[in-house]
Every structure is written in C-alpha cells, then in structure tokens.
C-alpha cells in the first residue's frame, strides 16, 4: 500500500511564489491579529488566581457568582470547565488584597454559602513578577532554540538552507501564535511547551527534505536547481505525509481524551503540525531556492583549502 506513487517528480517549485505570497500574507495576518486582539495570556503569564472546584451536582454558576460577589470578588470570572460539575474561577491580580490567600478565602466563602460543600480540585496562584519573567524566559527559549537550529543546520548543510529552515520554523510559530490570537484561546505554559515541541517536530520534517535535496544534487548531475528540489520533495512526500498522519492521530487522541488541561497543548500542536508540514515543503525549500542555492554549494568541499585566502588583508 502506498499513498503516493508518482512516475515523475511533481513540480512543487512552480508554485513557489504563490507559496511565498500566501505565507507572507498569513504571517502578516497573524501579526495584525496579535497587534489588534493581543494574545489571551493564561494565568502562568498574567499572574492571578485560578480555582477549580468540583460540585456533587451540576453547578449553579449564578449562585457561585453571587457568592463571590458577596465575598468581595466582583471581578471573578466563573465558567464551567470540562464537565457541568466542574467550575473554574479566575481572579485577576488586585492591589488591595494579599494575593497568596485569595484561594483559601474563596474556598471558605464557597463552602460556607453553598448548600453543599465543594471539593477543591486545584488552586493556582501566580505572582505578577513570575508571569513577567516567564514571558521573557519563554521568548528567550524560543529564540535560543531557533538560533541553535540555525547554527546546526548551517554547520551540517549550508547557510541558505539554514535560513530557509529557520524561516519555516518562525513561520510555523508565528502562525500558531496567530491562531491563538484570532480564536482568543488561552495561552498558558503547556502551549508554550507545545510550540517548542513544534519547533522540534517541524525541523525534523525540514531536515528530511534537505537531506534529500543534498543527495539529489549529487545524484542528478544534469538537472536544474528547481528540478532537483522537486525530485527531493516528491521522493520524501510519502514519508512526510505518513509521519504527519501518525502524529496527528495521537494528537487527536490527546485532544479528545487528554482532558481539559491538555486541550491548549493539543490544539497548538495539531495546527502547528499541519502548518509545519506545508512549510517544510514550501517555505524552507522555496526560500533556499530564492536565495540562490546551487549544486556547487552542496557538493563536498574541495580537499585542499588554502588558508587565509578568504580573509581580508589586515
């Protein structure tokens, strides 16, 4: 059984400009949405308190809101979480109360004013400085991962491919951030982890294609650059699609069975892998081609390198 079986390489590079325009438009759209709508940062980044409580019966949200208002938390956001018996209460950071005790006082208020005792499922409090640091550290981590990959690919392959690979990765990350911004999905620490995992996954795909491009350059002596790239992408297409398929399979399982806490994580990866598959075919290779990669760049270096030849005179 085989998904694709092509007699001739498909002409992927014919559409390279269309792909570049599409990707640029999507990236621009993502930036616009991030600028206008912003990102719905989760508790990990904004700071504040989240309390998840379980009720024995389906919860009466109006009553819960009333209880919280009476206890002095008018700004609390109350919503169902996962099931009708689980309630999630979010309380933003406020200047006039000691933050660390909010969880305890809310639980007390709920237990004293509701007919039935609630069960505490989780309480999370994050101070404002912690969230700010996390944003910085998270951004730094993404940058470091990208730079590390840039260096590794440049070393193992060639700088044009390296630029293409990192552009493809940045493309995937920006589009995923854009999705979270457009849909206003909550961006928490697990989503950040998912995006970093996505960087790892997407580079996998790209490198498989690059490896083939290098090989095809050596094998197809007479072909043009575009033909070579087309050949490489076509012959790895089966693998690209199958691996994406198995990964998407487990992610769908994770999305539906992993519980509400894993939802954001699964969403980010599902979307990211779809985009990542496209970008490793189109963005990475197209950029390398546009930057003018040639056969000579990919052939093994000449055995003798005259030292000092390439450096400028002092």
């Amino acid at each position: 059984m085989q998904i694709f079986n092509f007699a001739k390489p498909l002409n992927f590079m014919r559409l390279k400009w269309a792909a570049v325009v599409l990707s640029a438009a999507l990236v621009l759209g993502s930036f616009t949405s991030i600028a206008i709508n912003g990102i719905n940062w989760g508790l990990d980044f904004t700071g504040g308190t989240v309390i998840e409580v379980g009720f024995a019966k389906p919860a009466d949200l109006v009553a819960v809101r009333q209880t919280l208002t009476n206890a002095g938390y008018e700004d609390a956001v109350v919503q169902l979480f996962g099931t009708s018996r689980d309630v999630l209460i979010r309380i933003p950071l406020r200047a006039d109360i000691a933050q660390a005790v909010v969880g305890d006082t809310v639980l007390q208020a709920l237990n004293s004013q509701q007919a039935e005792a609630v069960t505490m499922r989780r309480v999370e409090f994050v101070g404002p400085s912690v969230g700010e640091e996390l944003k910085q550290d998270g951004g730094l981590a993404m940058l470091m991962a990208l730079l590390g990959i840039l260096a590794y690919v440049a070393m193992r392959f060639e700088w044009r491919l390296s630029v293409g690979a990192v552009a493809a990765l940045a493309h995937d990350v920006i589009l995923t951030l854009g999705l979270f911004s457009v849909l206003q999905l909550e961006f928490d620490l697990t989503v950040l982890a998912a995006i970093l995992a996505l960087i790892g996954y997407s580079i996998n795909d790209t490198i498989v294609v690059f490896d083939r491009i290098r090989e095809s350059f050596r094998k197809l002596r007479e072909a043009t650059v575009a033909q070579t790239i087309n050949d490489a992408i076509t012959s790895t297409l089966n693998r690209t699609v199958i691996t994406s398929l198995t990964t998407v399979l487990v992610l769908i399982v994770l999305f539906y069975m992993g519980g509400a806490l894993i939802h954001g994580f699964a969403t980010a990866l599902l979307f990211g892998i779809a985009v990542g598959t496209y970008s490793s075919i189109y963005v990475a290779s197209a950029i390398a081609e546009i930057l003018g990669i040639s056969r000579e760049d990919m052939l093994p270096p000449p055995p003798v390198d005259k030292e000092g030849e390439s450096t400028d005179a002092l």
Binding site: L140, T190, A197, I203, T246, A266
Partner: protein, 617 residues
C-alpha cells in the same frame, strides 16, 4: 554475508530490554495508603514504639498490612484511606507531640524489585496531588539589616580609635553607610581605620570631602544573599519537617527563590502560615535615661528607638541590638515556680558570648525582647508583590538579674498557648530575610488521580491507533515497527523509573503520547527508503542494507535538532514542563535505539541473509 548479525548483538539488545522491563515493573504495582512516623528533634523511634502502635491498631480493629521500622522511621501500610486516617488519629493520641505523623502513599513494590533498586517513577504534584510553592527571599531586607549592623559597628570602631565623627547613618536607597566628619583629616584617618578592620568595604567620599560613603563589595553582597538564601532553605526545611509531610521537597531555584513541594497536603492555609511566618527576636537594653514623654512627641534620643509593647505601652529601647534571634539554637515552653508560662531559650556559643558581654555591665538594667514579624501588607511594591510590613513589638522586658549566658528564660508571657507558639516560632528559626509566596499550585487528590487516568487512556488509544496504521500500511514490516514501538515504551518507562531526577507529569504523559506518534518516523524513513531501493531494481538484501544505511544520517540529523529543543525546554521549564522536556528527550533516545538498532535485528533475523524474492512492505 549481508544482513546477518552476530549472536552477541541479539543478546545485548534483548538483555537491555529485559533490564528496562524489570525496572519498569514497579510502576504496575498499586500504592498503599500509609503512615510515616518519625521523631522530632532529639527523639528516637524505638522498636517498642512500633510494637505499641501495632497493638493499638489491632485493638481499634484497624488491620495494618505491615508496620515496619526502618531508617529511624515507622512505616505502617493499610488497606484503605479510612483505615489510614483513623490510624493517624490513634498514633497522634498515643505518641504525643514528640513524634510527627505524615500521610503517605507507599509503593507496594515487591521485595525482590526493591532489592535491586527498582522503584516506580516519581510522579509530579499534578498527578499525585499536593501543593507547590515558589517563595522569593526578600534580599533587600537582608541588605538593610546588614547596613544597620554596619552603622553600629562603625560607631563602636571609630569610638575605639578615638576618631570623632558627626554622624553615622545608613542610606538604604544607595545601599551605603554615610559617616560624616568635621575635617577632611578625620575622613582620611577613618577610612584607613575602617579599611584595616574590613577589607570588603568600598569607600568613596562625598563632593564636600567631609562625608565618607561606605558601600559593600560585590563579593560581600553575594555572600549576604547566599547566606540569606541558605538560611531560609535550612529553616524552611526544618519547618516543613514539623508539618509532617512524607517526601517533602525544599530546593533552591535561581538566585533568590525557593521551591517547596508538599505532596499530599491539601490544607494549604496551615502550610502557608507556617512557611510565611517569619519571626525573629532581638534583645535590646531599655533606655532609662531618655525622656519617654518627649519621645512620644517625636523627639526620640539619637541612640534610641520607640517601641510599643503588646498592650500598647510605649518603651524606649537602645538602638544597639545586644543579640539577634539567629543565635538561638533551641526554645521550649514551660512553667516557672509560680506556674506562670515561660520560654526557655538556648543560644549557640557566639550568642552566649555576645549576651554575656552585653549583660556584664548591665545587671540591674532592664532588657527587652522584641518580637519581629514580617507579614504581607496591602500595599503593592514596584515588583508587583505585596510589600512586607515589619511588625515589631516588645513582648517582654525584665530586669537582668545576673550576667546571662547560653541558657536563659523569658517570663511574663500571657498564656501557655502563647508561650508554646513563641517557642515553636523561635525554634523553627529566625530568618534574616523574610520570604513571600509568589506562586502556589495546589492539586486536589481527585484531580491528580483523574489526570493519571486521562494520561493512561490517551497513551493506550494513541498507541492503538498508531499500531493499527503501521500494520495496515507496512504489513509485516509494520509489525516489526510495532514491536519496536512497544519496546520503546518499555524502555522509556524503565529509563524514567531508573533516573532519579526524572519526574512524570501530565504534560510529560502528553509527551509520551507524542513520542509514540513520532517514534515511528524513523521506521517510516527506513521503510520508504527500502521501497525506493526495491523500485530502483536492487535485490532484496541490497535494498534492506541501503535502506537502513541511507536513512540513518537523516534520522540522526533530524533527532539531534529535536534533542536541542528538548534541552532548551528543560532549561526554561518549571515543574510540569520540565517533566515534558525529560520525557521528550528520553523518548527521542529510546526511539532511535529501538527503531534503528532494534528493528534492524528483527528484519535481519526474519529476512536477512537468505534468498527472498520480495518483501512484505
């Protein structure tokens, strides 16, 4: 011969898998609700304590699975949580305050597995329930205290060297001590004198050359911070041990943070009170010469400060601190001969010397004990956290009857309960720098259990989906990949159990699911390659050989970059995300091993080195 492997390779790989399987086994055994009993400071748990407990459990009709004494602790296992809770009540009643009882879930790993060091995976708090605190140490307070100490030392030193100064004061904002003089000669002389005493001071002079600005060197600043952090960690560890938690974790994080994890703790209010209370004690002489009346109107004598006692009575105390609470090594509550509550205090050697010197010429004068507590107030500071308010009150002042030494007594305490409270706080230690909670995550036990179930279901279904797909798509070769995938899971779990620092969290379980989906990638690469080689007309044996050979470079390259990302994740992540990074990294390594080395052995065993016309791929 192509595609043949020596026997030793099979033995090696099968051996490794068996080893991983053995170390993965403990995870299959359930956990027993258990009770951990240890003695508090100074006490010991003896065999007779164990026998007593066993006896009382039996008489209360609680069937304990086992009651064992090991490593100075008693571990009692029960069949149900109800039994466990009841047993705790009984143990608390019977043993009294000298023992700490902690609820625990003890892994029911059989003896032969524990004997070879096989233990189940560490579960993160999001899976086992409990509370996680991140505490920040207020370094500014530590520094301020140091500056104030410097002021006192400088005054004494300058007086001793007969150098006349106009004023010595701490400038908190610039973290310097300002010493002003009448002449520039004095400034030069004072600088020389102070420099001789302490080489870690940094001297500058003000623009008019009459004030010496004394700062603290970077090295000393670092020492102060380190000391404040280390002291806090030690003290918090002691306090946590007194709460009675099985397997607590108190760990440094970064330059000024402390992570505290208390598995199984649900009542966070109590835990917070104990962690957050930062009490310290200072002993100062009462200023009997100063005029209390004018001090109340705002004219406090320069060497004194105005304090209030618990009942609101004003007291003038000397600024000089005779002794601070960090020299206290022990404190216990008791009664004096008139049955009044009192606190007995023991000091360390240096504290004893200090107090002895301080009280030598002060017999007959009054000495006050000032109790200082830092509590988060309503005001929010520049860093966004509530500003800690220093609350100080004179809890007692008494006439010094004799020169005091390493043991002394504080009397005049209102109630026995208060005496006990004070003793506990003092015993738990005096912090030089207060801490505050900047992050808290509490996971209830029901959610933890649910998370485990969700994770396991997701792994099972994810696994099933991938196994089915591979079997359909690659037929017999797909089955080979499936065997490798199962072996990969066993290896991953075995490694996670074996590595002491690896912790399984909910995102970590998601990482396992993801690994299952991505681990087949290596096999997909190899199998696609073999198909291509076959299409190009190579022989079966050649195709297998080249397929594996050519795919390997690609597999290595693509996985090294993913490993790089996992390392970055490990670097920034906290708790659950670190767990994800660990599973991702281990998963990459094990999947390369099983998908490349493992499947090759199988493929060679089945199809290698013999005449095969076509491959079921």
């Amino acid at each position: 011969m192509l595609n043949k492997n020596p026997i030793w390779r099979y033995v090696l790989v099968i051996g490794m898998l068996l080893l991983a399987l053995v170390y993965a086994l403990p995870n299959l055994y359930p956990e027993d609700p258990a009770l951990n009993i240890s003695a508090t400071r100074g006490g010991t748990v003896a065999e007779e304590t164990r026998l007593q407990l066993e006896q009382s459990f039996r008489s209360a009709n609680i069937s304990a699975k086992s009651v064992v004494l090991a490593e100075g602790q008693i571990l009692a296992r029960f069949n149900s949580t109800e039994d466990q809770l009841q047993a705790r009540e009984i143990a608390n009643q019977q043993l009294g305050a000298n023992f700490v009882t902690a609820l625990n879930l003890a892994p029911a790993t059989p003896g032969w597995l524990t004997a070879i060091g096989a233990t189940p995976m560490n579960l993160g708090l999001d899976l086992r329930g409990g509370v996680h605190f991140l505490l920040a140490v207020d370094m500014k307070a530590a520094l301020d205290k140091n500056l104030n100490d410097m002021v006192q030392t400088f005054r004494a030193d300058l007086r001793e060297d007969k150098l006349r100064y106009r004023n010595v004061q701490a400038d908190i904002d610039s973290a310097q001590v300002q010493v002003s003089f009448r002449s520039t000669e004095d400034v030069v002389a004072a600088e020389a004198a102070l420099k001789k005493r302490d080489r870690e001071l940094v001297f500058t002079t003000s623009s008019d050359n009459l004030t010496l600005l004394v700062g603290i060197s970077e090295i000393r600043l670092k020492e102060i911070r380190e000391y404040a952090l280390e002291q806090n960690i030690t003290i918090i560890r002691n306090r946590v041990n007194e709460i009675g938690v099985a397997e607590p974790l108190v760990q440094r994080q970064g330059a000024d943070r402390i992570v505290v994890q208390l598995p199984g703790v649900q009542d966070t209010a109590q835990a917070k009170e104990i962690l957050g209370a930062t009490a310290s004690l200072e002993f100062r002489l009462v200023d009997t010469e100063g005029d209390l009346g004018s001090a109340l109107e705002g004219r406090v004598p320069p060497n004194s400060e105005l304090y209030y006692s618990r009942d609101g009575r004003p007291v003038l105390l000397e600024k000089r601190i005779m002794l601070t609470g960090d020299h206290i090594t022990g404190a216990s509550s008791g009664y004096d001969e008139y049955s009044q509550p009192q606190v007995n205090i023991k000091l360390d050697a240096k504290g004893g010397t200090l107090l002895s010197a301080g009280t030598k010429n002060a017999i007959g004068r009054r000495m006050a004990s000032v109790f200082i507590e830092y509590k988060p107030g309503t005001e929010i500071g520049a860093d966004g956290n509530p500003v800690l308010i220093k609350q100080q009150e004179v809890i007692n002042d008494a006439t010094i009857q004799a020169r005091l030494g390493r043991d002394f007594v504080i009397t005049g305490i209102n109630s026995p309960a208060e005496a006990q409270n004070l003793a506990t706080l003092l015993r738990a230690g005096a912090l030089i720098a207060p801490v505050q909670i900047i992050e808290e995550r509490t996971i209830g036990p029901s959610l933890g259990k649910e998370n485990i179930e969700l994770g396991i279901t997701a792994i099972q279904w994810g696994m099933a989906a991938v196994l089915l797909f591979m079997a359909v798509y690659y037929k017999a070769f797909g089955m080979v990949a499936n065997i490798a995938l199962v072996a990969n899971l066993v290896l991953l779990v075995g490694m996670m159990s074996l590595i002491p620092g690896a912790t399984l969290t909910l995102p970590g379980m998601a990482g396992i699911v993801l690994t299952v989906g991505m681990a087949v990638d290596a096999n997909v690469l190899i199998f696609e390659r073999i198909r291509e080689e076959l299409l190009e007309g190579r022989s079966v044996q050649q195709a297998i050989h080249h397929g594996y050979d050519r795919a390997f470079a690609t597999i290595a390259d693509s996985n090294i970059t993913t490993l790089l990302v996992a390392l970055v994740l490990f670097g920034i992540g906290t708790g659950p995300v670190k767990g994800f990074a660990v599973t991702l990294a281990i998963g990459i390594l094990t999947s390369i091993f099983t998908a490349v080395v493992g499947t090759r052995l199988l493929v060679n065993l089945i199809w290698g080195g013999r005449r095969v016309q076509s491959l079921p791929i």
